[in-house]
């Protein structure tokens, strides 16, 4: 049965992919170009950064691979969190999962088939990113074999481990939400996640490691494993980084042992996930269905007793109510806002004193880039699905005497207002960790403000181009192919904006705050923002007017 399920899923993947290319050739070419640029950019950045860290900064191979381990850990955490969200949408609240549960199939087989579905769905972007990064790494060391083996033996098992952990957490949360509420279970998991990540980063203090390693100068390319905290051994990302270290230094036994550990962890987690799914999936599915159906039943009973008149609800209020009544939307939004709050708090509390102007400017640019990344994340997660989410109710809008322009504006304008607000606040706070920062505030706030218009608009353009009125799940829409393209294009724009910021602030930091920051060209950004908003309007309106089947 599992064979039949997987065979059908692969066939569907092939059919949908083939059709996407033949029906939307232009869109597909654009996607391929975007993906290729992004992949090449990642490749080039990693190759350059590897060269810079090893040759210019002279950190040595060991320290470089420990930084690699830290980066891989961050990727690992992101993939597992993303997988929790997509797995819930795909394995529990999806129509196909419901259909399969009415057939005489072992629940664990449904779980495996849907897990693969969600794995392919949520890990595509990360896979491109990591594969390009590995290629950049191998490009620097002129060792193609390391890239191929690294992807197969270290990176793929790492991504699989992250996805398995995400699904295991989801199963456990749902299982225990019978005893404690879902909200409490999610809070416990969030606290554990945040605690675990904080502990990992604290135990792996790069500054301490740097000091410890430098005591061995000039033998800093040697394997200095005795300096690693023992807690590292539990992180698969550590072993993946070790594989690259050993493969590059031609210690093949070390590389094989590290690869074996990464693969064993992945296999172990996969088996554990299957065992847990075998035991808990059916029950977890019932719990999830119960929670999802509960709202529907209550609503239906309420409407039988005489519901409220929908005509009186304005478009804006309707969108707001739908957003607030969808727990996955409100929960994810709250988490992102809390993260932004924590980041803001840290910005105000942090003080950065660095001797090198290049590094100070880089630190400021990085903070700015992270601000933009937060806005891009918010936009991809919440703005991108807005048009597609009209889905099943499109017939109502199209058949009512409603101006579609108003429908579109009720979606874009609130998004822009919220993100410009967040962008401006983040921009205002960004310079505060630096000395003599006051002069940077207007520049940084204005950039944040315009970023708040540009990013949601860019994302909305793609939300219109790739609109899918058949998908009803916001999480799945925001992890779709089109959302990935919108994320990549936004990241590209973010990089351009960040490099402009770098250029504009380098002289300021070099002059220790005596250089006057030029604001006269900010109007160009305003122009770009207006153009993006106009394009968003054009493509959004086009999406609202397409023929409905």
């Amino acid at each position: 049965m599992l064979k039949e399920l997987v065979k059908t899923k692969l066939r569907l993947l092939y059919l949908e992919g083939g059709e996407r290319i033949s029906h939307h050739l232009l869109r597909s070419i654009f996607s391929v170009i975007t993906f290729s640029i992004f992949a090449y950019f990642t490749f080039a950045v990693v190759k350059f950064a590897t060269g810079y860290v090893i040759k210019e900064a002279k950190l040595g191979l060991f320290l470089y691979h420990r930084l690699l381990a830290l980066s891989l850990f961050v990727f690992f955490a992101i993939i597992s969190v993303a997988n929790i969200l997509v797995a819930f949408a795909t394995i529990f609240r999806n129509k196909e999962a419901e259909f399969l549960h009415t057939l005489p199939i072992e629940p664990v087989q449904i779980f495996v088939s849907k897990f693969l579905d969600s794995f392919l769905y949520s890990s595509a972007l990360m896979s491109i990113l990591i594969i390009s990064a590995v290629a950049g790494y191998a490009g620097y060391f002129h060792n193609g074999l390391v890239a191929i083996l690294g992807i197969i033996l270290a990176v793929f098992p790492l991504i699989l481990s992250a996805a398995c952990i995400g699904s295991i957490i989801l199963l456990v949360v749902l299982k225990f939400s019978r005893k404690i509420s879902v909200r409490a279970a999610v809070l416990v998991v969030t606290a554990l996640y945040a605690g675990g990540t904080y502990l990992y980063i604290r135990l792996n203090n790069p500054f301490k490691l740097f000091t410890d390693v430098m005591k061995y100068y000039p033998h800093i390319d040697r394997y200095l494993g005795s300096l690693d905290p023992k807690s590292d051994y539990f992180a698969p990302s550590f072993w993946a980084a070790n594989f690259f270290y050993f493969a590059t230094t031609k210690n093949f036994i070390g590389a094989a042992a590290s690869a074996l550990i990464v693969c064993a962890i992945a296999a172990g987690l996969f088996v554990l996930m299957i065992k847990l799914a075998d035991k808990y999936y059916q029950d977890a599915f019932w719990i999830a269905r119960h929670k999802l159906f509960e709202r529907k039943v209550r609503k239906s009973a309420a409407s039988a007793d005489g519901g409220r008149n929908c005509r009186s609800i304005s478009l804006l209020r309707k969108d707001m109510l739908l957003f607030l009544r969808e727990p996955s939307q409100t929960f994810h939004f709250t988490v992102l806002i809390i993260l932004i709050g924590i980041f803001l708090f840290n910005l105000f509390a942090m003080r950065i004193f660095l001797p090198d102007n290049f590094i100070v400017t880089s630190a400021f640019t990085l903070i700015f880039a992270f601000n933009s990344f937060l806005i891009v994340s918010l936009a991809v997660r919440f703005v991108y699905p807005m048009l597609s989410l009209e889905g099943e109710s499109m017939w109502l809008l199209r058949s009512s005497p409603v101006n579609l322009r108003r429908v579109f504006c009720s979606k874009l304008l609130p998004s822009i207002i919220i993100s410009t607000l967040i962008g401006a606040v983040l921009g205002y706070a960004s310079p505060s960790p630096f000395e003599n920062f006051r002069q940077l505030i207007p520049l940084s706030t204005l950039y944040g403000l315009f970023g708040g218009i540009i990013f949601p608009s860019v994302v909305m353009i793609f939300g219109g181009v790739f609109v899918d009125y058949k998908e009803t799940d916001a999480v799945r829409i925001s992890s779709s192919h089109g959302a990935t393209v919108s994320l990549l294009v936004s990241l590209g724009m973010m990089t351009i904006l960040s490099s402009i910021v770098f250029n504009q602030t380098f002289l300021y930091f070099a002059s220790r705050g005596n250089f006057h920051v030029d604001l006269s060209r900010v109007w160009v950004l305003g122009l770009i923002a207006a153009a993006c908003a106009l394009l968003a309007y054009t493509f959004g309106m086009k999406a609202l007017k397409i023929d409905l089947s």
Binding site: L12, I105, W286, F293, S300, A304
Partner: protein, 236 residues
């Protein structure tokens, strides 16, 4: 064939189904009627094992459906009001996929696909993708898929959605035939005329409770007009 024993389903403080007991024998067509929000879909989802009851037992062919769901589902066919279909598959591929999931051998599955396709008149459309099907054609396909493995219990939620008069007649004839061949049919509908046409027994649920159960004759008395009056009396 289907036994609901003191079945209750609560969502927090809200009771969707309360202490529902039913017994449907092979060959019976049981009409489950009730106004919107009465608990019909909740009941049907509990029978199809998509929801777990708060208390009570669902037995399909004497198998506890929530203790041994896979065993119980071998005898069940469930047609929801908004069925899921793989849009990119052709009708034939979809039917074959379902047949294989019910454990049918490839040869038997092919024969069965051809048979039900002829009955439900989807044969000319069989090689076309489901995304090209009309609403009625989809309904025919899903009904064909439900009948394909000769289930002992057929549970159908609102079967007439999108069916044209010819499709509706085919559905009625096939439901009667399935019942004659020993299947038990549990059908929810808002169309009292459909219940009158095919059901041997009806149950009326209102606010989660079974307010009437009896033969079609006991319910309908002197005809359709009386049927509607009686229904409104029972559910107001």
């Amino acid at each position: 064939m289907l036994e609901l024993n003191s079945l209750s389903k609560k969502f927090g403080s809200f009771t969707a189904v309360e202490n529902l007991s039913l017994n449907i024998e092979p060959g019976e067509i049981y009409g489950f009627l009730g106004p919107n929000g009465a608990g019909k879909t909740t009941t049907i989802k509990v029978i199809a094992t998509l929801l777990k009851p708060t208390s009570g037992i669902v037995r399909i062919n004497d198998i506890d459906a929530h203790k041994f769901p896979r065993e119980a589902k071998k005898y069940l066919s469930y047609v929801p009001d908004q069925p899921f279909l793989y849009e990119k598959l052709s009708g034939q591929e979809f039917l074959l996929f379902v047949a294989r999931l019910y454990g049918m051998e490839k040869e038997d599955a092919m024969k069965s696909v051809k048979g039900v396709s002829e009955i439900f008149e989807v044969l000319p459309w069989l090689n076309k993708r489901i995304e090209d099907y009309s609403q009625g054609m989809r309904q025919r396909l899903i009904l064909a898929a439900a009948m394909m493995h000769r289930p002992k219990l057929i549970v159908i939620d609102e079967p007439m959605v999108g069916l044209d008069p010819r499709g509706a007649e085919t559905f009625k004839a096939q439901t009667r035939l399935a019942a004659q061949n020993g299947a038990a049919v549990f059908v929810t509908t808002h169309q009292l005329s459909l219940a009158k046409d095919i059901c041997t027994r009806v149950g009326i649920i209102h606010k989660g409770r079974l307010v009437f159960e009896g033969s079609m004759q006991e319910f309908s008395g002197n005809g359709t007009e009386h049927l509607e009056k009686r229904y409104i009396e029972l559910t107001s």
